[in-house]
C-alpha cells in the first residue's frame, strides 16, 4: 500500500525568498506527523502546494500514490485530504449545520434537505465524540467550539489525511487536552494526521514522528522517543534555545497603574468585567491568568481606552485616564501590545518602517513639525529590523507580507521603543515560534528591569508562570486571587481559573 501523502523534492521560490527548498516527506495511515518550524520556515507554503493552491517550481506531490494537479483543490479534497486552517474557514453568520454541509449539501429535489443534514451531523459528532449544536451560529461560539466545527467539517468528507495548522494556538489548556485526545483517537481509527504547531510539549505528547523545517529546508526527522523539547527547539532554530526564562528578582517600586472597581461590557453588551481592582507596581510583571473569555480581553481594552468603561477608573500615577480615547491613554503612559495584531497592532498595507513608528510618527525625531522625517524613519526601521531579527527582504516591504511571528516582533519592537511607564501585553506570543517567543520574553523582562510596570495577559499558563512576579487569576469577570509567583502552584491556579476554588 502506498503512503497517504508523498512529497518529493518540492521547491518554491517567491521574490526574495526561497520558501521551500527540495522538501520531501511521507505520511502513512494511522500516524501523527508533527511538522515543526519557525514562522517563515515554509510550512504554509508546503501545505498550500499540497492543496494545489500554489504551483511548486519543481518537485512532485502524490496523494494515495497518484500525483496532484495544480489548481485542482477540489480533486485533492475528494481524494480524502482535509485541512483545519489556522484562520478558521467558517462563515461567521451562518449556523454550524450550514457550515458543515457547505459545498456538499444533502438535497431533496432542488432544495437542501435540512433533516438529512441534521441527522448526518448528529451521527458524525457521535461517531467521533465531538458534540456540537447544529443550530448555533458560528460567531456566537467560543473558539474551541468553532475549531470543533472545523474538524467535523474535515471529518465529514471521509478524510484519510487530516492536516491541522496550529490548531492549539487559540485554545484554552482544557480545550488543548481535549483536542490532543481527539487527534490520538483519529489516528487510531486509521486517519493520517499532519500536525503543525509551535508548542513542543504538544508534539512530545501526541506525535509519532516529527519533521522539522528551517529556512525552507527539511533539517531532520525524529520522534518524541529519540529527543526532548530542548532538542526539538534546537533543530527548529538551529541553535540552542533556553526554554526556561532567566529572571532575576523584581525590584518593585511604587504603584504606577491602578484599576479601580472597573466594569466593562463585551460586544454582546453583557457585563464581562465585574468590578476589577488591580495595582500594578513599577518594575514588576503582573500576569493575568484565566481561561479565555473570562473578561481578560475586555479588561485590557478598557484599560487601554479602546472599550467603554461602564464604571470604575484607570489611574496612572494617580491621574485618571480618559475613557474611550486610546491616544490620550497612550499619551498618559501606556503602551499596548494588542491581542489581535492584524486588527489592532498593524496597518497591513503600510511598510514595516511606517508600522514601527505608528506610536511616534508625529514626534521628533520622526517628524519635524508637520513634515515626517523619512530618513529617520528609515534609519530606525533598519536598526530595529536588525535588532529584533525581523525576517523580511527589506524594511520597506508591507507589514502584511510578514509571517505571524515577524508581525508580532514589529508590534513588540514598536511598543517597547518608547519606554513608557506601563506596558500592557495581551497574548504577546500567540502564534509565534519558539525562537521568537524566547526573544519576546526576554524583551518583556528587560522592559521590567528598566522600570516598566508590565501587565501580561496570556492564555498560556506556562507563560504566565515563567514571566510573572505576581499572578492575578481572573474568572467570570473577577480577579479571584492574586498570588506571588514564588508560591504559585500550577494545579491551584488551574482550579482557580476554572472557578472551582474561591
Amino acid at each position: 500500500m502506498s503512503a497517504l501523502l508523498e512529497v518529493s523534492g518540492v521547491t518554491k521560490r517567491y521574490p526574495g525568498v526561497l520558501a521551500n527548498d527540495n522538501v520531501s516527506l511521507t505520511v502513512n495511515a494511522g500516524e501523527v506527523v508533527a511538522l515543526l518550524g519557525e514562522n517563515g520556515a515554509g510550512k504554509s507554503t508546503l501545505l498550500k502546494a499540497v492543496f494545489g493552491l500554489i504551483k511548486p517550481d519543481s518537485g512532485e506531490i502524490k496523494i494515495g500514490g497518484s500525483p496532484i494537479v495544480f489548481g485542482d483543490t477540489a480533486g485533492v479534497i475528494s481524494r480524502g485530504v482535509g485541512m483545519v486552517h489556522q484562520h478558521f474557514q467558517l462563515v461567521p453568520v451562518m449556523t454550524v449545520a450550514e457550515n458543515l454541509i457547505l459545498g456538499d449539501e444533502p438535497k431533496r429535489g432542488i432544495f437542501i434537505n435540512k433533516k438529512a443534514a441534521y441527522d448526518e451531523i448528529i451521527a458524525l459528532s457521535k461517531r467521533y465524540g465531538l458534540e456540537v449544536d447544529p443550530d448555533a451560529v458560528i460567531e456566537d461560539l467560543p473558539v474551541g467550539m468553532q475549531q470543533r466545527v472545523e474538524i467535523l467539517k474535515a471529518l465529514r468528507k471521509d478524510v484519510k489525511l487530516l492536516i491541522l495548522d496550529e490548531p492549539t494556538a487559540v485554545l484554552t489548556p482544557q480545550e488543548i487536552d481535549e483536542l490532543l485526545v481527539v487527534i490520538r483517537n483519529l489516528a487510531n481509527s486509521g486517519v493520517g494526521i499532519v500536525l503543525i504547531t509551535h508548542k513542543l510539549h504538544e508534539v512530545m505528547a501526541v506525535a509519532d514522528r516529527v519533521v522539522v523545517l528551517r529556512g525552507g529546508k527539511l533539517v531532520g526527522t525524529t520522534s518524541p522517543k529519540e529527543t526532548d523539547e530542548a532538542g526539538l527547539a534546537q533543530m527548529m532554530v538551529g541553535r540552542s534555545v533556553v526554554l526556561q526564562v532567566n529572571r532575576t528578582e523584581a525590584k518593585r517600586g511604587g504603584v504606577v497603574l491602578e484599576v479601580k472597581a472597573l466594569e466593562v461590557r463585551d460586544d454582546r453588551k453583557i457585563l464581562s468585567v465585574k468590578g476589577v481592582d488591580l495595582q500594578l507596581h513599577k518594575g514588576e510583571i503582573l500576569g493575568v491568568a484565566g481561561v479565555e473569555g473570562n473578561g481578560q480581553r475586555e479588561l485590557v481594552e478598557a484599560i487601554c481606552g479602546m472599550r467603554h468603561r461602564e464604571a470604575g477608573s484607570v489611574l496612572i500615577n494617580g491621574v485618571a485616564t480618559k475613557d474611550m480615547h486610546p491616544h490620550a491613554v497612550h499619551e498618559a503612559g501606556i503602551s499596548h501590545i494588542p491581542e489581535d495584531r492584524e486588527k489592532h497592532g498593524l496597518v497591513s498595507n503600510y511598510t514595516i518602517a511606517d508600522n514601527l513608528v505608528l506610536n511616534q510618527f508625529d514626534q521628533a525625531p520622526f517628524a519635524k513639525g508637520w513634515i515626517r522625517d523619512l530618513n529617520e524613519i528609515a534609519k530606525n526601521a533598519i536598526a530595529t529590523v536588525e535588532k529584533f531579527d525581523i525576517r523580511t527582504p527589506s524594511a520597506f516591504n508591507t507589514a502584511g507580507s510578514l509571517s505571524g511571528g515577524n508581525k508580532q516582533k514589529v508590534v513588540v519592537a514598536r511598543e517597547l521603543s518608547e519606554e513608557l511607564p506601563v506596558l500592557v501585553a495581551a497574548q504577546p506570543t500567540r502564534g509565534v515560534d519558539v525562537g521568537s517567543i524566547e526573544f519576546i520574553h526576554n524583551q518583556l523582562i528587560s522592559a521590567r528591569d528598566k522600570g516598566a510596570a508590565v501587565l501580561l495577559v496570556s492564555a498560556e499558563l506556562d507563560e504566565i508562570l515563567s514571566l510573572s512576579d505576581r499572578i492575578a487569576v481572573m474568572s467570570d469577570g473577577k480577579i479571584v486571587a492574586i498570588v506571588d509567583s514564588k508560591d504559585a502552584d500550577r494545579n491551584y491556579i488551574g482550579r482557580l481559573m476554572a472557578g472551582l476554588d474561591k
Partner: protein, 327 residues
C-alpha cells in the same frame, strides 16, 4: 418571536392605514394601491439585482445603467421588429451582457467595483442618448391579464391580480429568489461566497464561477426591470428614462437587509408613497410644483437610509476581489 416586534408593528400600521383609507373611499384606495404596486415592481426587481450580486460579494451600482440600456433596447427592438417579445428577449440578453461585463471587470480584473459599476452607468447613458430617435412607437404594451377568480376579490384582486405578464414574471422571480437564497445549495453557496469566500473555496466551491453566474443572471433580471418600464408600464422611451430607480433600488436592498422579501416590502412602501403623492396632486389636495413630488422618492431614500444606517450588516466580503490562496 415577539408579537409586537418592530417589524410586526410596521405591518400592523400599514394594515390599519390601508383599512382606514379603504373605508373612506374604496375605489380610489384600490386604484392608488394598484398604481403603487405597478411603481414598486421595477424597484423591487432592481433590488433583486443588487441582492443577487451583493450576496456573492459583488457591489453592483451599475443597476441603473443596466435598466436604462435594457429599457432602450426593449423599446427600439420592439419598434423595429414590431414584436414586443423579440424586444424583451433582446433586452434580457443586453442586461445579461452588462452583468457579464461587470463580472469580468470585478472578478477577473479585480477592478474597484464602484468604478466598474460607474462605467456601466456612463456607458448606458452615453449609448442611449446617442442612439435615441424620436417618434418611434411599439405595436402595444404587455396588456393587463386578469387572473381568473382571484382578480374578483375586492381590493386584493385589482391590486395584485390584474397586471401585465412582466409583472407576474417579476413577482415569480422575487419569490423564487427568496426560496433559492435560503433553501437551496446555490443560495447557501452564494451567501458563503459573499460572507467568507475562502471558506467556500476550501469547501470546493468556485468563488469566481459563482460570482460570474450570479452577476450575469442578475443583469438579466435588471433587464426585465428596464423592459417592464418601457414595454409594460409606460410604453415609450426617453433619455434618462429610468430616473435613478437603479440607485433607489440599492437603498431598498439595504432597507430590506439583503432579503428579497424585505426589499419587496420596502419597494411596495416606496411605490405606494409615490402613488399617494400622485393622487394628492390629482385631487388638488396639495398644490405644490410637480418638481417637489418628483423629489419625494429621493428624499425618502435618504431618510430611510439614515434611519437604517448602522443597524444593518452587509455581506462581509462585499466589494472585495477574492484571490485564491489568501488566508
Amino acid at each position: 418571536m415577539k408579537l409586537l416586534s418592530k417589524r410586526n408593528s410596521y405591518f400592523l400600521f400599514a394594515i390599519l392605514a390601508t383599512a382606514f383609507f379603504y373605508s373612506k373611499d374604496g375605489d380610489i384606495t384600490t386604484s392608488v394601491y394598484a398604481t403603487g404596486a405597478a411603481f414598486a415592481l421595477p424597484l423591487a426587481l432592481a433590488a433583486m439585482v443588487g441582492i443577487m450580486c451583493e450576496r456573492t460579494g459583488i457591489v453592483n451600482i451599475g443597476i441603473e445603467g443596466t435598466m436604462l440600456l435594457s429599457a432602450f433596447v426593449a423599446f427600439f427592438v420592439s419598434s423595429l421588429t414590431q414584436n414586443i417579445i423579440i424586444g424583451l428577449i433582446c433586452a434580457i440578453f443586453t442586461g445579461s451582457m452588462m452583468g457579464l461585463i461587470l463580472a469580468v471587470m470585478a472578478v477577473s480584473w479585480r477592478m474597484d467595483q464602484i468604478i466598474a459599476g460607474t462605467i456601466l452607468n456612463i456607458l448606458a447613458t452615453g449609448l442611449t442618448s446617442f442612439l435615441y430617435v424620436q417618434g418611434k412607437t411599439i405595436p402595444s404594451v404587455f396588456q393587463a391579464i386578469e387572473v381568473p377568480v382571484l382578480s374578483k376579490i375586492p381590493f386584493f384582486g385589482p391590486v395584485l391580480f390584474i397586471h401585465g405578464a412582466l409583472t407576474f414574471i417579476g413577482i415569480a422571480i422575487i419569490l423564487a429568489l427568496y426560496v433559492a437564497i435560503y433553501h437551496t445549495s446555490w443560495g447557501l453557496r452564494s451567501r458563503a461566497v459573499g460572507e467568507h469566500p475562502s471558506s467556500a473555496d476550501t469547501a470546493g466551491v468556485s468563488v469566481a464561477r459563482l460570482r460570474y453566474i450570479n452577476v450575469t443572471i442578475a443583469g438579466g433580471i435588471g433587464a426585465l426591470a428596464g423592459a417592464y418600464l418601457s414595454l409594460e408600464l409606460v410604453g415609450s422611451f426617453e433619455r434618462g428614462f429610468t430616473a435613478g430607480k437603479g440607485f433607489t433600488a440599492l437603498a431598498l436592498m439595504i432597507f430590506g437587509r439583503w432579503n428579497p422579501l424585505g426589499a419587496l416590502a420596502a419597494a411596495l412602501f416606496f411605490g405606494l408613497a409615490q402613488a399617494y403623492a400622485n393622487q394628492l396632486m390629482i385631487d388638488q389636495v396639495v398644490n405644490i410644483p410637480t418638481q417637489f413630488t418628483a423629489i419625494l422618492p429621493y428624499v425618502m431614500t435618504i431618510v430611510v437610509l439614515t434611519i437604517s444606517a448602522g443597524k444593518v450588516r452587509p455581506p462581509a466580503a462585499e466589494g472585495q476581489p477574492y484571490e485564491k490562496g489568501q488566508a
